[in-house]
């Protein structure tokens, strides 16, 4: 069984971004970049499928600038077998990313595609679902548990437990299927030094959206960005009585 994992290069989750002075976009110069945390969970899940004997090969794909190689290398160090960089300096929208991934699916015929539920920069939560539409594959979004039985040829299925608003839902999907990860799916391991060294020798292909025949022209224009309405810090109260008094008589919320 072959697993495809989509990993995105994003601003590290510890960084607090700010708008550029002219408000035209987000200031991204010299910020620490990382693999999107949800993608890291996807890689970890793929590696576990391989350790369990369910998966035979893991291909990590990223769409982004040359430096997105770093996030593919991270995935290789965690246990992916080879990488594909779809190189572009344009910031692609989820629809374009999904089209690129569809082209890779056509080339690679994976049995399962693991992705994050959300990228923490754009907070879109769209790409997996859109890839589902383009490929016709079923989707198990916001997964907190994944079981895979068999592969595409022998009519295999993925059983996915999904984190939904009311609790948990379980669905059964025919392979090939798309699974997007939620936070509780697993806890990603740290790459060991020997594995980081080994990752440097693992194969990495490079292609471009143009080579894949994908039209990446943007559909949504960014008119500007601004800071949200800031909340000012309030006051400290000394004790429970003062708190209750404030809530009753000042804020009037109880």
């Amino acid at each position: 069984m072959k697993v495809l994992v989509a990993v995105k290069r994003v601003v590290d989750y510890n960084v607090k971004v700010r708008p550029k002075a002219d408000g035209s976009g987000v200031e991204l110069n010299n910020l620490k970049m990382s693999i999107n945390p949800f993608c890291e969970i996807a890689v970890e899940e793929a590696v576990r499928l391989k350790e369990d004997g369910a998966a035979t090969e893991i291909v990590a794909v990223s769409i982004g600038p040359q430096q997105a190689q770093e996030q593919i290398r991270t995935s290789l160090a965690l246990g992916a077998d080879r990488g594909v960089l779809i190189k572009t300096d344009q910031d692609l929208e989820p629809l374009a990313v999904a089209k690129c991934l569809k082209a890779i699916c056509d080339q690679e015929s994976p049995d399962i595609i693991l992705m994050g539920k959300q990228s923490i920069d754009g907070d879109n939560n769209q790409t997996g679902q859109m890839l589902g539409a383009l490929t016709g594959y079923p989707q198990g979004t916001f997964a907190s548990e994944l079981k895979v039985d068999g592969d595409t040829v022998d009519g295999g299925k993925a059983t996915v437990t999904r984190e939904i608003d009311g609790g948990l839902q379980t669905v059964s999907l025919d392979l090939p299927a798309i699974v997007t990860t939620d936070l509780r799916l697993n806890e990603p391991r740290y790459a060991s030094l020997p594995n980081i060294m080994k990752a440097k020798k693992k194969p990495m292909d490079e292609t471009t959206p143009e080579d894949l025949g994908v039209d990446v022209s943007p559909r949504v224009e960014l008119l500007g960005v601004e800071l949200p309405a800031e909340r000012s810090a309030g006051i400290k109260v000394a004790n429970v009585d003062e708190l209750l008094d404030k809530l009753k008589n000042e804020a009037k919320v109880i």
């Binding site: 989750y13 607090k16 971004v17 700010r18 708008p19 987000v26 949800f38 989820p94 629809l95 923490i120 920069d121 907070d123 939560n125 769209q126 679902q129 859109m130 589902g132 539409a133 016709g136 079923p138 989707q139 979004t141 916001f142 907190s144 984190e163 939904i164 608003d165 009311g166 609790g167 948990l168 839902q169 379980t170 669905v171 059964s172 999907l173 025919d174 939620d182 936070l183 559909r219 949504v220 224009e221 960014l222 008119l223 500007g224 960005v225 800071l227 949200p228 909340r231 810090a233 309030g234 109260v237 004790n239 429970v240 009585d241 708190l243 209750l244 809530l247 804020a251 919320v253 109880i254």
Partner: protein, 309 residues
Amino acid sequence: MSILVVAEHDNSHLKAATLNTVTAAIAIDSEITLLVAGSNCSAVATEAAGVKGVDKVLLADNPAYGDRLAENLAPLVAEIASGYSHVLAPATTTGKNILPRAAALLDVQPISDIVSVEGADTFKRPIYAGNVIATVKSTDPIKVLTVRTTAFDATPAEGGSAGVEPLDITHNAGNSAFVGEELAVSERPELTSANVVISGGRGLASSENFQMLEKLADKLGGAIGASRAAVDAGFVPNDMQVGQTGKIVAPDLYIAVAISGAIQHLAGMKDSKVIVAINKDEEAPIFQVADYGLVADLFDVIPELEKKL
């Protein structure tokens, strides 16, 4: 322009999130159609027809739609959407699951989690965990949007008298199946629409200790939320997580107990009207957004608070 709103329901009742979404739709244009897709869900269509401002209800009552599988619903939404300028759904896990899939079938780039309508094609939405707000303009012929429900008031559930039009469209992809559900049952108000939310963090230290917050919630008629750390530690189930990647809440009163105030948590609650933080660390970042901060050990002050309410 006419606008299609995908109704959220459980086959017997319309969910409140639909009413906030209708408000967002009305901010775009006044001609509103609600799509009720489900199985044995005619009661929902009746409710939907009564929502103020709704002109038409489309009822797709079919076993294939009963479990709201995206594989079946997305092609239904995409097929109907061609007659509309906008398609909206609440940014719930159901809406987020279905709408992007429908958008891709329409070759449209959807816009997630809008918090304001600036014009028929221009919307605001938070990005980077709400650290910045982006203003974006869609150039697609059909705008496909999910709506952050806390940013829009609910439209009155009554006062409308729309006609219900049954649809005979079946999409059954047959490649996915519903297996089961474990839904939280609670007497408390729903987290995302409660007037009071009391959330606990890692400092609660166990699921037993969350019962202290429950007593408080009972007295205040509130709902219980949690930080990711509390969910990951297994103190409470995942559906209670508030934050960037959990639920977004904006109650009149939010009480954060033993929550440090990471940006990912703030992303889910900083639009609350009044924020109270109880934390024993006076340096905790949560105090920077709190209207009232109490530096104290929760095990001392929560029982006292409960007693004095």
